[in-house]
Subunit: 364 residues, 4 copies
């Protein structure tokens, strides 16, 4: 009942502390015979990598992933064998003594205290298992899932930063191509807003402070019929997937919060028939009705809190209950959202791939 | 891989269509030797029951639950045996012909279309499996979970209606006693706001329309240490539990959306030691840090859309792709929130009970 | 983590004590649109029913199963909806006081002592949850599974009594039609051996004693490719399924025990190609190689101990540790094998159906 | 639904093909704070290692396992963190061209054909995923499980070779210390029988043939109460665990096959009270009653077929359906049993550890 596995059919299990020997994972349940573009996997990893721009932590991480099993080269193509795909990324040699001052300290709004209570023992170096470094493994699995979905049903998943602190895109969520999103370092597809976001993050970084915001994810081309009522509804499983990411505060589907201020007669999505295809005229449902995809775009907004690590003095206590002042030292991510974009896409892809596989047997 | 089970240790599996023979479920994993107050279970069911007030649908449902196994009377007490608890509620004899006009129609923003695509066959009577009637089984399991939590660790869970359409409580989320919440039909603990909400719902009902809003849930006395990183974080599993409820649009933990507009220095919860106990001075984390409960109140806001069933004409299509006009006939719930309160509490209780049991073996 | 569910895709969860209100279960994961012959389900139940012949206990049980959900009548056919199938059989009104003498007693080789240690509380009436009455629910699910397998891939499953005590069929395992097997009360397809077995059971019954033996199961028409290495191999999951039945002592696949006395050169199944189909010339593998079905007959022998309930005095202790003599009173099954035949078929069918569904996505 | 995970609480997921980059796995659910003796883990691996004696294949494998996560050094002790333990063993550089002749061939009684049917693509080098090399990961997890069981409840698990071909130990199963078992290369604790077994294996090896036999496993000190009826009975889960091993043909619990030839009055285990402890006078139940451990020794006999790889010509077909003659070349294990001993112990330990953890919450 340990919690390091995700998915029922397309499964990911991960391991690794931030400053242990290595991190990695196993992907199980991917069908055999799927041609894999490993360059795409590495590209997704580069989008998550720390130090990719001035907006992120300058910390260097080793993001070089090696694949250990489950793949074979046939006729110049890398193909899945149907057996589990093991992968690994070694951690950098890091000087553990850098973290000595945190051995007993509980950093505010981090997982230090709760890990200590739960396990009684803790790897304090860089957050240990609670470090966001574990999301690297999610990006690997997500890249495989995206390739499966793309090949099997032309599903495309893309996410972008919609809001940083109080600077927000003016328009409602829509699908943007990844290259348009990646054209700014902050991963906001609106150049002007992107520029303002980047400036805001720079200011906050200089203050040694941090900010949060919102990411929008749109998946298009999703096959109708995904989702398993009544508990494994597609929106329920997507919520779990996304809320398992570090620093998340909440999420909305489709019309979301604003939709709850409409009346039923204003909110319902009427059906229409066009070219023999049944579609909804509007998409306030966000592509999911009764917990099952209806073929319209899936639209989710996910909120992130300001990063807990800041470079300012904070009051706290240590594991002996003594009150302490934690000084702000080192490096930090003033805003996690730009790097979270590929991670959000990954979790959506894994969840959709899992449901895509589960759906295979819903009818005779 | 079918989706009718919830939980890994404290498990619930449910069955039943709205107008089939019966609905019910099985609770597995509840420890032996727990004394159960069946009156409390029936009371929770009465809080969910349709027709309990003018605010809800006048539809009569049979909510009389019979317990079939897993319990034994010893010394005048009903006690769990450790074996699965089966329970059942027969459906009313209903005139299936009432639903003939819906056999091929897809009601806007209902699950009619998606069930049809997914399964190819559908019980159209009263929504079949997609009916909110299935939440009855969740309330039963939730009542057992609440008794387990109350007995084992004094955890109390209560939810209330914070907002109906644009009428909202003025104060931030806090814990209210259930009797205070239940003192108004709308289940809002602020009498003046409650009265305005009830008036709004009456107006909307007369228009044949519907409204949504927000429910706040606060759990106090939650043992620190619940939650299984990195995928089965407590907030992730609570999100799945709550987003599996019908008509949900999104949710927030702790400071939620408003917290994403603060800087890290404003948002972090500093630790303090008081009477040998480590506590946070503020609770913007909403009782969960790094996916694990920290002993502070768990605070969640859950949003509901306006009910899809309205008594007005709507454009739609049928399963042959013909455009139709669906007339509004029959009875409807103009606002599901008052009845959803015990269901929200139930899902939180089941999730906490599941994690409480899973946590037993986290350390030697 | 409780143990009342079986299967990962085609799932069965059961509930019920022998003398509680009712027993029953939920089948989840059966595909929608499968036409079901309910008469066949009831027929399988009649094959399991106590009191069907002089060879079994004269105890009367209510085996009338009601279906509560998941099925719909369309065009005169009962069809699966894709939603869970709930079912129930009420227990007879039974006089609980019949069991007063067993409230504290631990019957030798029953589950009384172990349930007491594990749960601390126990329903002593008729064995409670440990009663073989729970296998009724397995037969229901097995009947659905057999219909699925028959329809989807012409798989046929049949089992027969090969040995009672020291009376055994002279020939190696082979497939027999069910009507040939059922032509004797003991369910042995060889009339002469059947007659000797029946006489043996009568003698043993008169002694107030009991006997065990062996059941052979052969499944033909099994699709090649079922089984999920490396842990959920088809033989591994079949072993779990069968060894979860009461009174089982062991099992063999294919050549079994005798095969372990051959050399590799004698035991290997050579391949041959006939009419474009690859087949093995012999079937010592019992239809499974490397944990995956190869399309040949699956052949299993399952052993049962003599029933623990006997009508003779036995020494034992009670829950206070006092030594007692348990008198033999009441009714008993001198040999469970004839009634176990449909239960064995059911468990094999459920396991094959589960793997059939899981296999759907093994390759692109 | 892929099959590369085992266990529900103490979980193992493995990856790796015989001649891919590496094999390894993740152990999840092991409690935090358990001191681990890594030397013991490596010792168990050495007992499984090929080439350890003249009786086994001279093939050299790299069995050097590296631990990647989940452990921390505190005060000179290696301790579990409660997070998943990742581990890896790189495969030797091997000359893939050694296997070219097997690329399309189906070796008799191997998994070549079934993998081909199931996945459509196959890593033919050394058996790929179906190679017994994957059992290395089981031995790693089993060593952790044994340390957990030893520490928590003094459980000891040991297995030995009872029979090779037709040479068998004369006495019934009993517990032997590991060092006594390991004193012979064949891992039979009776020196005279061991010597005859070793001679038999040498003869068979010289013939280029192979033999099977039986391994007995005895676990003593097992806590009463392990096992989760009705499907996850301890004997059911042990059966699955053991029958998931390569080359297994069947198994018996307690009195096993010979017990099925007794009458109930001869077979039942009477209870007796001694020194306030309730024990059975005999142990025909093999330590499990009603699917739950009763505190007596768990006794299992597991049968293995003669190894499929032999050094003699065999008829077969290739993947195009052409009939071929497969020559016997290379190296082989004439008898897998001596090396299977630690693997059997590992699977029993993993299953018991899983149930030990699951049992924690069976009663209030």
């Amino acid at each position: 009942m340990a919690g390091n596995s995700f998915g029922k059919h397309f499964q990911l299990m991960t391991f690794g502390e931030s400053h242990g020997e290595a991190i990695g994972g196993i992907i199980d349940g991917i069908p055999a015979g799927l041609n894999i573009d490993l360059q795409m996997v590495h590209h997704e990893l580069s989008r998550r990598k720390p130090g990719q721009s001035n907006l992120t932590t300058p910390r260097k991480e080793n993001d070089e992933v090696k694949f250990l099993s489950g793949l074979i080269e046939k006729d110049g193509q890398i193909t899945t064998l149907g057996s589990p795909i093991g992968f690994i990324a070694y951690n950098n040699d890091s000087n553990s003594s850098d973290y000595n001052h945190l051995e007993k300290a509980f950093r505010p709004s981090h997982a230090d205290y709760t890990y200590n209570v739960k396990y009684g023992v803790r790897d304090h170096r860089g957050g240990g298992r609670s470090s966001a470094r574990e999301t690297l493994s999610r990006v690997v699995a997500g890249a495989f899932a995206q390739q499966l979905l793309e090949k099997e049903c032309k599903t495309q998943i893309s996410a972008y930063v919609e809001r940083v602190h109080d600077i927000s895109m003016p328009n409602p969520p829509q699908f943007y191509e990844k290259n348009q999103i990646d054209s700014s370092e902050v991963r906001c597809p609106n150049p002007e807003i992107a520029s303002r976001m980047e400036q805001k993050i720079s200011e906050i970084k200089n203050e040694g402070d941090s900010v949060g915001g919102a990411i929008v994810m749109v998946a298009k081309g999703v096959k109708a019929g995904l989702g398993e009522p009544v508990f494994d509804k597609l929106n329920a499983d997507l919520s779990k997937a996304l809320m398992s990411l570090p620093a998340t505060k909440g999420l909305e589907f489709g019309s979301g919060l604003s939709g709850t201020l409409l009346k039923g007669s204003e909110h319902n999505d009427e059906f229409a028939s066009s070219n023999g295809k049944i579609r909804t005229k509007t998409n306030r449902s966000g592509g999911i009705q009764g917990g099952i995809s209806n073929g319209e775009d899936i639209v989710i907004r996910l909120w992130f809190k300001p990063t807990s690590t800041i470079l300012q003095d904070q009051n706290s206590v240590d594991s002996n209950g003594n009150e302490i002042v934690l000084g702000g030292v080192g490096r930090h991510d003033p805003c996690v959202l730009p790097r979270a974009v590929p991670i959000v896409e990954a979790m959506v892809a894994i969840t959709l791939a899992d449901h895509y596989m589960r759906n295979h047997s819903s009818k005779i």
